[in-house]
Structure formats: structure tokens, C-alpha cells
Symmetry: C2
Subunit: 480 residues, 2 copies
Amino acid sequence: MTTESPAAAHPLDYVFHPRSVAIVGVSSKDMDAFGGIGFLRAIRAAGFPGPIYPVNPKATEVEGLRCYPSLPAIEGPVDYVISSVPARAVASLMDDAIAKGVKVIHFFTAGFSETGDEDLAGLEQEVLRRATEAGIRLIGPNCMGLYVPRTGLAFMYGFPVTPGHVALISQSGANAGEFVNFSSIHGVRFSKVVSFGNALDLNAADFFDYCADDPDTHVICAYLEGVKGGPRFVEAFKKAAARKPVIVLKGGRTEAGTRAASSHTGSLAGEIQIFDALCRQAGAIRVESLGALCDMASAFQFLAKGPGNRVCILGGGGGTSVLAADDAAAAGLEVPWLPESTQQAMRDFTPVAGTSVRNPVDVMAAWDMKQLKRTVEIAASAENIDFVLYHTGFGWGPRLTDAGERAKETIAQLAQVRDEVGKPIVIAMRPPISAEAMGLTLDFQSECAKAGFATFPSIERACAAMALMAKWQAARDARV
Amino acid sequence: MTTESPAAAHPLDYVFHPRSVAIVGVSSKDMDAFGGIGFLRAIRAAGFPGPIYPVNPKATEVEGLRCYPSLPAIEGPVDYVISSVPARAVASLMDDAIAKGVKVIHFFTAGFSETGDEDLAGLEQEVLRRATEAGIRLIGPNCMGLYVPRTGLAFMYGFPVTPGHVALISQSGANAGEFVNFSSIHGVRFSKVVSFGNALDLNAADFFDYCADDPDTHVICAYLEGVKGGPRFVEAFKKAAARKPVIVLKGGRTEAGTRAASSHTGSLAGEIQIFDALCRQAGAIRVESLGALCDMASAFQFLAKGPGNRVCILGGGGGTSVLAADDAAAAGLEVPWLPESTQQAMRDFTPVAGTSVRNPVDVMAAWDMKQLKRTVEIAASAENIDFVLYHTGFGWGPRLTDAGERAKETIAQLAQVRDEVGKPIVIAMRPPISAEAMGLTLDFQSECAKAGFATFPSIERACAAMALMAKWQAARDARV
């Protein structure tokens, strides 16, 4: 991963580092997770260090904070405004924001061009004209805005407080929220997550350019529907992909999806073939599901470099092993039989019945802690293997009782092998089928992340992610 | 689904209805979930009504049951034997079983032809020769055997006790166990689940023929690696698929998977193209993952008939909706825009901002119970819609508190719409990200099943399953 030492801050750096935030249109009567009150709670939970100003002429206090009747009524300077007012109140909000000298407005407010209504699209353009004149930058409208853990900004309650190095540039707030939720349980941590909706002012080109320069960002993920400003976008996208892994989930890869995107963010999604050509040219990876986007974030966060594509699959279950081999091969990985000498070394302490030492390795070592380290060590050391995929799970019979202890021991042994043999090990989970098994799975994933292991929600998804990463690395190495 | 009234019992019917079970090689020192003790616990938990005889010369009591030194030492007749002894003890077990007049032996015992060792393959053939001579039928070796809830047989602890109408014919015990675990949390219930491993005697042909005739079986799922006895298998497979939905997961669809299958059950998996041709000819469905097999079981258990392929997708989230439309279209479903009149009927009570009433329908009704029934009713009634896919989930912000109540109310409203409008509604879950959300999701799925709704673990998987079912139904209708 590249870590740049920037000569000067990026011109958009202040957007991500406001010193104060006002939330306009906040009401205690809002639905709990959405609207102004949701932003207020999220930002407070994220530990924003500067002043937070709720604004609502009908309240004097919101959640213990003094509530102001308007932006100009606030004594101190206001860098960043979150607008949760309805579209009809936006003109007056613009008056106040200009008067107050606000630098950035995030419009959670929706109901503009994405509705297909001409008047509302006109209102949107008028907002842009006035903002540009006043030097105010806009995020949105129709979006969730920023999650920047290092700055204490967040748009949903419960996002991780610890910062990391994965960025997400997203046209959808729901998908951005799910991306954070789904990947954070695998230990992924974030530099900047941007939900930018209709992209009236700041758009994908700006955010790619920023993330390309941002020293805190090592991996750039994106959810895009349509992209505006053709050549500028292409330039920024290529710049980013030349410096860092870029992984894109493109909404509207089918005609039905394209129609849906037009209702969602007013995007005119182009032909997926054109976007694919751009990805190939730039060296970016396109994935087809939110899950796959999360998996790539895991892979690139935890592995310093993509390994080759020859995998040793190791874990319990004969039929599981057959399907794992199919999944790996279908994804583009090789699953070579281990060399005779490797097989023999395992046979020396592995009973013949109900096992296989060829690859996939299906041995009781997956269940018997005493043999785990030895087995994985022998497998990882084989000369025709680039990395090990270990699969495990919780919730089979009464085994749950000592699951916590076994999990810690498993991770410790795998970490030893990884460090001694010097080859990557990634971990695929068998899906849990009870709340208790889910809890154990989450704890295990969290411990794996602490030990530096990428985990994936299934063998199939682990194979798909590792195959894409291996392919990306091979292409990258061929260029250099 | 067909319900046959059989003129006479199938010749293999007694295999699934033993009056007594002996477990040979049971030991209290076994690992808790595997080996003899695992079978003993599973069968007792399944409520087997006849006598259960643990057999082990070194014990007098196992788990409170009298333990016998050998099969002949048991006073009463023994219909069914589970062999958990090592391969080297099998010759002597055969002596005893023949002396005792046993009818069926399930060999959990592994270490035969699947090892690739000629001597062990020879031992396997000798077992078959002696069993055939004595009129004993064999299940396995190298397998988990039978789960027949109606008879009180099971091979893993915690399987559902309530019987149902889905059969599984599986060459893998691990995959059979996961199939039951993964699909039972969606309310799928089983008639016969067979894990038959190396298929030394009873094989896939026998089980397909049996399930085709079995009045308790309405849907036949299968996990196959290689198939033995060519023409007999083809005949039984076609007979089954002509009468009931048949869905097959074929292990060894790649070269790597085929190699793994040869280590697992000694199967010579053929070219996947040949198997595909057979499926097309027979009218069976081939899927490529265990998850997809479970999803098809859900779809066929809960829906009386495959609907057409025009779906209305309904739930919260703009980006979620775009990806859902992509998933649906990629799977082969149509996502037509709703007629103008339908859109207008929704617009009458749906705010314009942040919503879409076209299809996918992304409205706050997904969150606001008062508008849910009305919205779904209008959507389902549209003339260009065959079924509704409703998506929901648990674990977004503080909304968990009243989740249970909301879940019940949601199901009640959806059931009313389904019954009044007369179109199917299926439910896709957003994946849970905490143990608490997992618990709520499991409870919700269980309530959905009680109300007759198929649930799926993701929108993507719901779309894939429904598209396959629609295609199967269209082909079936075209034949009749």
C-alpha cells in the first residue's frame, strides 16, 4: 500500500476537517435512526471535538444541547452544515448559510432532480448557482454525507470510532451504511466514507482525486451509479487507480438497474461495457455485489500484497472440501495437489479414514488443536502453494462450550505459521445458524482482525476475493 | 406438489422404518459431536420410539443405556446397525450382523475405496459380497446415514423434530448436515435426508427411485459427486424429476473439484456438461452452491407453484433498490416499471423526497407500519407483476427495541395482502451484523415460515431462486 507524504494539503482537505458542525432541521420528533437527530447522535458518538449546533426555530434544547433558531443566531463560526430541512426550506437556508460564512453544506434533504420533476431540478440548479457564487461547497443533495472517524464525523450511530485506511466513495447512503456495517465486523476500518447522492457540486471526480492524494487512504472502494463530468472523472479515476487499489461496485449494470438508478439519484448510468473498459484501462477492479466490495476491502486492508493464485484449502468436511475446490477453481484460483513429500509428512500423523491430505486438506487437525499448527505449517510450506485458505465455524453440536478458548488458540497457531513460513493465511467462516454462534463468529472475526487476518463470510466469497486480488497484483507487477 | 397414494410400499421402505437400532463402536470417550456417541445422542433427541442398543465390549453403560458387548448379546431383534468401528473391525461386525439377522447396516466407518488403497477397496468389496449374500442392505461406507424425523432417526444433534416434505440425497455428510442446518432456519422441514458416502450398495439410483415414490416427499434435493450404475441412475433420476421438483448440487463441476471428489468418496465425477444435459432432459435444476440448494428447498416448500418471472421489489433504501434490480435482472427476472395508475395510487400518500414508486418500490412504508399493507397491496395488484419480493432486516440503529412487535405486524399485513390479492410474496433478509440482530432475524424467519412465507438470506439469493423456480415452472407448464 502506498503511503504518500503530501507536499501540501489537497484543496478539498478542509471539507473533511470542519471545526464546527450545525445540524439544521433537527427535531426530537424525528424517526430515531434518520433525519437530523440521527446525525446529531452519530456525530456525538463519533466524538466530534468541536462545537455541535442543533438548529430549529421551534426548540430551545435538543438532546441536552442548546438549540438555535437559525444559523446566524449561532455565536461562533460554522464550518459545516447538515441540512435536514425539506426542499421547500432550502432557499432560506441558503440565505442564512451565505450570511454566516459557512464553508460546506451537506444536503440530507432530498426531493430534487432525482424526482424527474423539472421545477425541483431547477431549484437544485439555483442552490448550486448561489453556493458557487458564495464559495460554499455542497455534498449531495439526497445523501448521508461524511463518515470520517479521525475527525469525529459520522452519519449513522454505531460506526467504529477507530480510524483506518479504507475509503468509500458512494452515491448511495444505504449502501455506504451497509458497507461500513458489513465490513467493519471483519475488522475493516475507514479513512473517509462519502455518501454524495445527486452530486450537484462535489462529485465522484473530486472524491477520487482527493482519495488518490490522501495519505490516510490506502484502498479506495466505490459505489457508483452514473458519473458526471466525463473527462475529469476519467482523469481522477485513473490517477487513483494508478496509486492505490480501486474497487468499484457499479449500480445499473443491467437495464432494470439503470432504470432504478435514474429514480434514485437521477443518474444516467451508461453501458456497463464502457465502464468495464475504463476499469481495465485504469487497472481498477469491478465487483457485482456489495458483499464482494466488502470482501475486497478486507483483502486489501489485511494483505500487504496480493499472493499468487495457488491456494491450499484446509478445514473439516469432505463435501465441504469438494465444493471449496469447485468455488476456488470457478473463481480462477489453482488448487494443485500437494507434492508427494508434503502429503507424506501429513500422513505420518494423520489417520487415513475420512481424511484427505492432497488439497483440499480435510483432516481432523481442523478439530484437534494439537495437530493444527503442524498440519497448516506443512501445507503452507509446500512449494506449489502461494497462500492458505483456512475454513472454520461455530455451532456444530455441543462444541460451542469451549469455542472461545479454541478460537484464541486457533488464531495464535495460525499466526505462528504465517510468521514462520512467511505465506499469507486467510480465513473463511462457515455461516452461523444461531444467535450464540453469530456472537462467537463475530468475536472470532474480531480476534482475527487484531492478529492481522482477513476473514470472509464464506469459502465462496473468500475464493472470489482472493482470485481478484491475485489477478490485480499480477497485472500490477507486470506493469512495473 | 404431487401427493401420491401408493398402492404398495416401495421395496426399500423398511430401510427408513427400522423398529430397533444398534450403535456399534459407541464410546463415551468419543469426540462429542462425532462417532457413535453423536449418533446415540442424535437418535435419542429425535425421539426414536423403539429400543436403542449401544454396543461396545469395554462398557456396560453408555449415557444411561445398557451397553452390550456384541450384536448377538442383544436379546431383541435388531433391524438397523450403525457401525462406528474402525475399518479393521468390520469383518467381525459382519459376522455378528449376519448371525443376528440385521436388515440394514449404515457404515459411518470410513477408510475404504475412497483412500485409493487397493487392499482397502478389496475389503469394501468383500463386505458387499457378504452383505448381499445375507440379504443385508448397506448405507455408506464413509457417511452419516439417515435423518428421518417421522421415524425418529437423525445423525446430528439439534435437527428439527417436526417432519416435512423435502428430501435430500447426499454423497456428503457435512453437506447434508449444513443443508439441514442452513435451510431449517428458514422453516424447511424434511421427509428423508440420506448421506450415503461411497455408495457401495444402496446408491443414488435407489434413493431417487424411492423418493420419486415416497408420498411424504414433495421436493427432492441432492448433492452428488459421481454417480454409479449409469442407466439405472438415469432412469431413477428421470422418474423422480418427472414427478417432483428435483434440484441437484453437483460436486466436481471443475477439474479441481473432481480431483477433490475422488479423494472424498472415490467418485469419478464426469464432465459437468454431460450432467447438465441429463438435467435438461429430465427437467431437473442444477445449482452451484449449497446455499442455492437450500434456497430452492425454501422456494419449492413454501410456494405451491412457481410464479411468472415479473417481480415487484419492495423495501427501504435507494442504493439497495438499484442493486436489487440488478440482481433480479442478472438472475433472469423482469422488473417492469409499475403502470402509471399504480404509481399514482402510491403517490397519493407517499412523499416525493427520497422515495421511488416505480419498481423497485423504495418508500418509507417499509418503515412505517401504517402504510405497509396499503403499499404492498397496490404493488401486488399491478397487472404486470407476478410476485412481490419484500426485503427487510434488523439491526439498523436503535430500531431493535420494538423489532419483535414490528416483525409480527409486518408478517400479518403481508399475509393479508397475499391472501386478498392472491399473488405470492417472498421475503429477502438483509444480513444481520450482531448476535442480537441474528436472534431477531431467526425469530422473524421462523414466524414467516409459520405464516407460509419463503425467506431467503439475501436479495441476491432470493432473486436467483425465484428466477430458477419461474423457469422450471414455465418449462413444466409447457410440457403438460
